[in-house]
Point group: C2
Chain length 356, copies 2
C-alpha cells in the first residue's frame, strides 16, 4: 500500500523517550496491518536552538511540509526560558503552527478509569466526563501586531486581537462536524459582552448553526465556562473557542480529568494534514531517566492514524492495547499507586506493542 | 462622628432584596457604634435602561462621585441580553468602573465551613483554601480600541489590549501590599511567552518586587494557573493579574470554593474610595421571591467598613454575626440541606442584625 510519510520531532526533555515508544508501535502496525511508513526526524524547539541557533530551522519545516503528518514529543525547558524571544522554544511552536496552517487544535479531556481518583474533583462530579476542546490555533491575540511605545503615562505595550470571518468559519464548521460525530452538543465560548472579535465570532456561529440542525448549540461566556467546567464537566461535549480562551480552558479541562498525563492532541490544517502530540509537557525534571509515561504519545499516534490516514482499525487496535495493558494493572510511576512496582518507559511501550 | 455617604445601587434581579438586608445591617451599626451614614439610591443597569434609556445615567454617576463608597446589589438579566451595546447592563458596568477609576478588583475565594461539601473539589484538596484575586479592572483588552473592517478575507473584528507601566505599577503595588498583610505570597499571572503586554507586566512586577522582600513572588502563566488552581488551590495566597485573565481566573477560583454565593468583592480606586458588591449575579430566576441569600451583600458591606471607612471593629462584628448565624444552623435555600427549613432573605437578614 501507499507509503505514508511522518515527520518525527522528538524535541526536548522526555520527548525523545516517549517518541521512541510510539515508533515501536508504528513499526508493529506495519507488520500487522501491512502499512508502510517512512519517518524522518527533525530538529525543533530547545535542541534546535542549541544545535542550530533557531527553534524552527528551515529544513525542519521542509521535512514537515513534505510529510503527511507530524508526530511531536514535547518541547521547551527552563534552559531556554530566559532567552530572547527568537531563541525560545515557544516561538518555534507558534511558528510551526502558522507555517503549517494548523488552525485547529483538538484537545480531548477524558477520564481514564485507572485514573479516576487522580482528579481533584469528586468522582461523582467527574462521572461521564468526556469532552473535546476545539481551539482556534493560528489567529487572535497570539498572532496580531505587538508593539512597545511611549505613551502619556510612560512606556506602554500593545497586543492586537484580530479575527476575520473566514478564520472563524473554518474552525466553527469543524467543531460542528466533530460534535455531529459525538454527542451532538456544541458550546461556543466567547466574551461577546465585551469583545468585538467575540461578537464577530458569535455572529458566524449563529450563521453556521442552521447547517447543523441536529447539533444543540449553546453560547457560553468565557468566565462562566471556567466555572461550568468545574460545576458540570460531564455536561459538555464539544467546546469551540478562540486561541487565548482555548489555551486557558483546554488546560483547565485537561487538569480536571486528572488524566492530563494520558491525553493526546491533534493540530489540524486544511485536508487531512495534522500534527499530533501529547497534552503533557517536556517534564525536564524526569527527562533521561526512563520514567516518562509514553501512553499520551502512543495515543497521539492512534489519533494520527484515525484523523490523517483514516486507519481506523489500527487506531482502535492501539487504543484497545493501551486499555488492556492498563486493565492488567501495569503502570508507569506517574500513575502507579505503588511506585516501587512502576514500569519504565520502554517496558510500558513494549507491553503495549505486544498487546496490539 | 463624621457622616459617611454611601451610594446604594440596588440594581436588577435579586439586587434590591439583598441590598435591603445590608441596609438593615448598616442601620444596626449606626445604633451600636454611633456611626452616621447617609445613603442615596441610584438607578443603574437594566432598571436604568428601562426607566431612563441608559444603563448608567449621569445623575447616578454624580451620586456615586459625591459618596464615599458605593454598595451594589447585582445588575443584568436576560431581558436586556439582546439589546444593542449601549443599552446593555454590562456597558454600564464597564462605564462605572472607568468613570470612578476603580482599577483594582479584589475577589476573595474562601471556603465557608458550612459549605465545605458544596464544592465539586475533594475536601482534602480544598482544605485551607483562602486566596484573593487582585484583578486589574480599567485597562487591557476591555478598554482598548475595537473595530470592524473589511479585510482580505472578509469582514474582520479587532480588539486592542494596551497596558502602560503606570497602570501596571499601581495594581501590582497594591497586590504586594495586600499579600504583605496576608500570608506573604504573591502569584503574578501573565502570558509572557506570547503577549507583549504580559512582558511589560512581568518587567514591572520584577522591578517592584525588591520593595517587598518579605513577599515571596512567583510568575505563573495563565494556562498553568488555570490548572494549578485545581491542583493546589490552598497553595495560593494573592494572585494578581490583568483584566481579562482576572475575569476568567477569579470566576474559576470562586467556583472551586463552592462558596460563590457567599463571597464579597471590592473594586477600589485611588485613596479609600470603593464599590462593593457580592460576587454572585442577579439570579433573575429567583428574583422577587424572598429566596435570595443576603450574606454576600452583607459581607460586602463589612468589606466597605474595613477598606473604605477603616471601621474594623464593625466589620469584624458583622463577620462574626454571619458566622454565628451560620454556626447555629440557619440557612437560606441556596445553602440549605433541608430546603423545607430554609429561611427567607429577610429572615436571614434579621437574624444577622440581631446577632451583631
Ligand atoms: C507554549 C505556549 C506558547 C503554548 C500556547 O499558549 O499555545 C502552550 O501553552 C500550548 O497550549 O500549546
Ligand atoms: C459583565 C461583565 C462585563 C463583567 C466583566 O467581564 O468584567 C463580569 O463578568 C465581571 O466579572 O464583573
Amino acid at each position: 500500500s501507499e507509503v505514508k510519510k511522518i515527520a518525527v520531532i522528538a524535541g526536548d526533555g522526555i520527548g525523545p523517550e516517549v517518541v521512541a515508544e510510539a515508533l515501536k508501535v508504528l513499526k508493529k502496525t506495519e507488520e500487522l496491518f501491512g502499512y508502510a511508513f517512512e519517518t524522518e526526524q527533525a530538529l525543533f524547539g530547545g535542541i534546535a536552538i542549541d544545535e542550530r541557533g533557531t527553534p524552527l530551522p528551515e529544513d525542519t519545516l521542509e521535512i514537515c511540509r513534505s510529510a503527511d503528518a507530524v508526530l511531536l514529543g514535547a518541547v521547551g525547558g527552563p534552559k531556554w526560558d530566559n532567552n530572547p524571544k527568537e531563541l525560545r522554544p515557544e516561538t518555534g511552536l507558534l511558528g510551526i503552527r502558522k507555517a503549517l496552517g494548523l488552525f485547529s487544535n483538538l484537545r480531548p479531556a477524558v477520564v481514564f478509569d485507572c485514573l479516576k481518583d487522580a482528579s481533584t474533583l469528586k468522582p461523582e462530579v467527574l462521572e461521564g466526563t468526556d469532552l473535546m476542546v476545539v481551539r482556534e490555533l493560528t489567529g487572535g491575540i497570539y498572532f496580531g501586531d505587538k508593539l512597545r511605545r511611549q505613551g502619556e503615562f510612560g512606556e506602554e505595550a500593545v497586543d492586537t486581537c484580530v479575527y476575520n470571518v473566514t478564520e472563524v468559519e473554518r474552525i466553527v464548521r469543524q467543531a460542528f462536524e466533530i460534535a455531529g460525530k459525538r454527542r451532538n452538543k456544541l458550546a461556543s465560548v466567547d466574551k461577546a459582552n465585551v469583545l468585538e472579535t467575540s461578537r464577530l465570532w458569535r455572529e458566524v456561529v449563529n450563521r453556521i448553526a442552521p447547517e447543523y440542525p441536529q447539533v444543540e448549540l449553546e453560547h457560553v461566556l468565557v468566565d462562566n465556562c471556567a466555572m461550568q467546567l468545574l460545576r458540570r464537566p460531564s455536561s459538555f461535549d464539544v467546546i469551540v473557542t478562540e486561541n487565548m480562551f482555548g489555551d486557558i480552558l483546554s488546560d483547565e479541562a485537561a487538569m480536571l480529568t486528572g488524566s492530563i498525563g494520558m491525553l493526546a492532541s491533534a493540530s489540524l490544517g486544511e485536508g487531512s494534514y495534522g500534527l499530533y502530540e501529547p497534552v503533557h509537557g517536556s517534564a525536564p525534571d524526569i527527562a533521561g531517566q526512563g520514567l516518562a509515561n509514553p501512553i499520551a504519545t502512543i495515543l497521539s499516534l492512534a489519533l494520527m492514524f484515525r484523523l490523517t490516514f483514516g486507519y481506523e482499525a489500527a487506531a482502535a487496535a492501539i487504543e484497545a492495547a493501551v486499555a488492556e495493558v492498563l486493565d492488567a494493572g501495569h503502570r508507569t510511576s506517574d500513575i502507579a499507586v505503588d511506585k516501587s512496582k512502576a514500569l519504565s518507559t520502554a517496558q510500558m511501550g513494549d507491553l503495549i506493542v505486544a498487546a496490539i
